[in-house]
């Protein structure tokens, strides 16, 4: 079997997929021997890739393109189109995104978070500059989720898994970021997260990657059809109750990318421009356009 080193965040969704792969022996069927490096923080994967300790990690194309602009030739294959969501307490007077004006907002991931930038861009089209019109608290996603739960915040924009957990606790979903994409020019749900690996490595391991992608697709298929499978991975998700697990399940299934890669890339190109405009040089680096080689095309059937 061919060795494949994968770095995952232990609490991340990719770890769920890998659990399914292992449980069903999909790796053996694909003739891959998957070495999983479990890490504890979201940023650790990037270090692992950079340090050469992992072949594949999960992150977004924004970073891939930026890195390519700076000289590191990485490449990207869609993994999930799930994006964050704006959540408010059930009894909140906030009904639409426009109502966020003047409120206390918790923004997970900081000022360059893609969810946040997309939300800003969307609101800007309606003439609202949320950055100056609302009280913003940036912070670590779990902390902000807890803060929202305790009522310290009027609303939160958090990653999809934290949003799902809030949803299960009775919070109201004002909008998912993926709902905002059409107005920003995208044709459909766009996978911003993907498997990321080195281009040179990919070119010499095309077959291995193809088998890997096929394997993950199979896992996704299982997760999207079997509810029993979710019971098995429940401990991994950390879901404290059935409602939360259900929310995780539904959002996860929605996020499975099903569009042709060319469509994904076209939409990414559009969104990149939006993000570059609002996030500026700091976010995207020197390149004003999505770098040409950002998407990996060599998967048969795409």
């Amino acid at each position: 079997a061919d060795a494949l080193r994968i770095a995952v965040q232990k609490t991340g969704t990719f770890a769920w997929e890998l659990a399914v792969i292992r449980a069903h022996g999909l790796d053996k069927q694909a003739n891959l021997s998957v070495e999983v490096l479990e890490l504890a923080s979201p940023e650790a994967g990037k270090i692992a890739l950079r340090a050469g300790n992992a072949d594949i990690v999960v992150t977004d194309w924004l970073w891939v393109s930026r890195e390519r602009g700076l000289g590191a030739k990485l490449t990207f294959y869609p993994y999930s189109s799930a994006l964050g969501a704006v959540m408010v307490p059930a009894s909140s007077p906030i009904q639409t995104l426009a109502d966020l004006k003047g409120r206390k907002l918790a923004i997970a991931g900081g000022p360059i978070d893609k969810n946040w930038l997309l939300l800003l861009a969307w609101l800007k089209q309606g003439g609202i500059d949320l950055k100056s019109d609302a009280k913003i608290a940036y912070g670590a996603p779990p902390l902000l989720a807890a803060k929202t739960l305790s009522g310290e915040m009027d609303a939160t924009l958090n990653y999809w898994n934290f949003s799902a957990a809030l949803e299960a606790k009775g919070f109201r979903r004002i909008a998912g970021i993926e709902d905002l994409l059409p107005k920003l020019g995208a044709k459909g749900r766009t996978a911003m997260l993907g498997y990321v690996f080195d281009e040179k490595w990919a070119n010499t391991n095309q077959d291995k990657i193809a088998r890997f992608i096929a394997m993950t697709r199979a896992a996704k298929e299982i997760l999207s059809t079997s509810d029993a499978e979710w019971q098995k991975i429940a401990p991994l998700t950390g879901a404290p109750d059935a409602a939360t697990l259900r929310a995780y399940r539904d959002r996860y299934r929605e996020g499975i990318p099903r569009r042709p890669i060319a469509d994904e890339e076209a939409d990414a190109r559009i969104l990149y421009r939006v993000l570059a405009e609002i996030g500026g040089h700091e976010l995207v680096g020197p390149a004003p356009e999505l770098d040409a080689g950002t998407f990996y095309h060599a998967i048969p059937g795409d």
Binding site: E43, K46, R50, W63, R66, E67, L70, G71, A72, A106, G109, G110, P111, I112, I136, A137, Y138, G139, A140, L143, L144, A146, K147, S150, E152, E282, L283, G285
Partner: protein
């Protein structure tokens, strides 16, 4: 002179190392300088540096003052030491992350919570250092001060303080470095500005030059303060020591 030379050696080492390691692994000095200048131009550097320095100053002062007082007490009064010791060890060995998270949970995502959390992290290290200092105080001089009925303040200033000063210096230097490490975590987890916040951003983007630009700016500020204020002051107050070879 020697300092300048040493600084030059540092720059050269860095540059050479970056040539060997490659830009991606270690950006050379000019790249970092460019990033620094760009941040300075946009005003970002000063804004974030200012925010962090304000927090550092407050938390540091708080922790040093309180830590020195408690450490002195524990070093001198046996009972205080006995009672305080388990708390001290606990506080020493509580992870920064936990303290910061708890502070944010209790006091909200506020400036007060951040500063308190940082101070609490630094406090115990000041305590242990000053405690050693207080334990090593010279009993003979103490007797002298008692016999001559030196007033409290005079006794503190002229008898106790000079004996504690190497311990204070050690606690201050290593403490500042600790505060600086922790303020970054606090800013990373729940503040909307400061060097830690920017480093968090740079880290998310994996922008090493930016990461280094902010880190080195802070180090430069400290280096400046050391050279201009602390070391001349130290040289003056240690004049009495027999000069080393």
């Amino acid at each position: 002179m020697a300092r300048l030379l040493s600084f030059a050696v540092f720059l050269v080492t860095w540059w050479v190392a970056s040539l060997f390691a490659g830009d991606a692994k270690l950006p050379p000095p000019p790249t970092v300088l460019t990033a620094m200048i760009a941040e300075a131009r946009s005003g970002n550097l000063f804004f974030h540096l200012g925010a962090t320095l304000a927090r550092v100053t407050l938390a540091f002062t708080l922790a040093m003052a309180l830590g020195a007082a408690i450490g002195y007490l524990m070093g001198r009064v046996r009972l205080a030491d006995r009672l305080g010791d388990p708390w001290l060890i606990l506080l020493l060995n509580l992870p920064a992350l936990v303290v910061i998270v708890l502070a944010y949970i209790w006091a909200g995502l506020t400036e007060v919570a951040a500063i308190a959390a940082i101070a609490i992290n630094k406090l115990p290290t000041a305590v242990v250092t000053l405690r050693e200092g207080a334990r090593a105080l010279d009993a003979a001089l103490d007797e002298m001060a008692t016999v001559f009925a030196l007033p409290r303040w005079s006794r503190f200033r002229h008898v106790i303080l000079p004996q504690l000063s190497p311990y204070i210096a050690a606690a201050a230097r290593s403490g500042l470095s600790l505060v600086w490490k922790i303020v970054l975590v606090a800013e990373l987890l729940g503040r909307p500005n400061g060097v830690g916040f920017e480093i968090g951003v740079a880290f998310q983007l994996f922008d090493i030059p930016l990461l280094l630009a902010y880190s080195l700016s802070f180090a430069a500020v400290v280096l400046l303060i050391e050279t201009l204020f602390v070391q001349p002051f130290e040289a003056r107050s240690y004049r009495w020591r027999p000069r080393a070879a």
